[in-house]
């Protein structure tokens, strides 16, 4: 019984620590509140069920969880029923309007981070957002923005380097 109780605390801690970051990513990929909520649940289920396959020597726990969330969300955006349902939704809904939606409150602790992120160069930010929040592969970004694959890699790398400078 005691162990069961501890597990519950563990699940809650995991959720409280990471849900807002994961939800932010999922929401930006699927751009639909109801779907994003379902996917957050799927994400935590998969995290929980495949925990044994997480290998700490290959990277941080958070990176592993983010990639699960991104994979689930990207798979969803490519599914047939999502494409059908989203025809009526505004899929090009831009990121700025997301914050206005009711029920999604911004974490005040990260407000400072947001200002720093705003300092990213636009050509870097658009690639980073396409890859990280929209689930584009490098090849897809290259196609979408009509720039060479090498340039995509360089700009993405520079974007991450800028982030490193901003956050350190």
């Amino acid at each position: 019984m005691a162990l069961r109780k501890k597990e519950k605390v563990g699940v809650e801690a995991l959720y409280d620590m990471y849900s807002s970051s994961l939800y932010g990513i999922i929401f930006r990929i699927v751009q639909h509140e109801e779907i994003a909520q379902d996917l957050l649940q799927d994400t935590f289920l998969r995290i929980w069920n495949s925990f044994s396959s997480y290998d700490a020597s290959k990277g941080r726990l958070f990176t592993w969880m983010v990639n699960i969330a991104r994979n689930i969300s990207i798979d969803k955006t490519r599914s047939k029923d999502f494409r059908n349902s989203s025809k009526t939704e505004d899929i090009e809904n831009n990121v700025l309007s997301l914050e206005m939606q009711s029920g999604n409150t911004l974490n005040p602790e990260t407000m400072g981070l947001k200002e720093l992120v705003a300092k990213l160069k636009p050509e870097q930010k658009i690639i980073l957002d396409l890859v990280y929040f929209r689930g584009f592969t490098h090849a897809e970004v290259s196609e979408e923005l009509e720039i060479p694959l090498g340039t995509v890699k360089t700009r993405l790398r520079n974007a991450i380097i800028s982030l490193r400078k901003v956050f350190n």
Partner: protein, 269 residues
Amino acid sequence: MKDLKSYLESGILEQYVLGDLSNEELLEVEKNALNYPEIRSELLEIESALLSYAMANAIEPSEALRNKVLNSLEKAESEIRPLYGASSKPGQFYKYAFAASLALLFISVILLINLNSKLNDSYTQIAVLQTGNQKFSNQVNHIDEELRDTRNALHFYQNQAAYKLVTLKGSAKAPAASMLVAFNPEEEEVMIDLSSLKMPSNDKEHQYQLWAMVDGKPVDLGVFDSEVDSTGMKKMKSIKYAQAFAVTLELRGGSANPNMDQMMAIGSI
């Protein structure tokens, strides 16, 4: 590897972290990461940067969703348990326990760091308060002593006739030394005049000790310090008879028997 720098800058590590690599490329990065610490630290840096970016873009999901997700996890867990728990996968249970401990550890570390810094703040505050307190009580002691010495002097001036004044002259060790001892045999009172005291300043390890010579034997009358700005009169231990007074330099706190080598001043009644 031929050129580590261009490998680090090729963008493949970013792709690795973002999960945008084929299985083959993925294995290659992992193999290289094992061999080169520079690659490992670069990967960690990229992960940290993206973690911060995710946090900057976090959206708090609703409280209702929290309960829904937690309930579904609990439900999934209880469904899995009878399937694997008893027979084939005893490790299943430890997996959850491990995850839970990991999360708990994380929280504990944060709490600990937090608490520790608060504790340190408190220690600093206590130290500051203690210093202030110590300073204050030292001041009170000093003023107290001064007041007592001044009262003694007043008492002496009011009853001068009852006192015998004995001037102690410096010995060969301290020829310039001199001091005045007021002795009142009736009240068995011995006082030294601090304002006219002329003795070399004593260091922190030593103190002067006043002795009464009674039938050729020294009797301890207590210790005193020689300070430049002392005023008033200091009351020493009481004695009824004495033929002479003498001062020796002793270890702080005084000695049972005088150190005759350190005889500083002497004067007979």
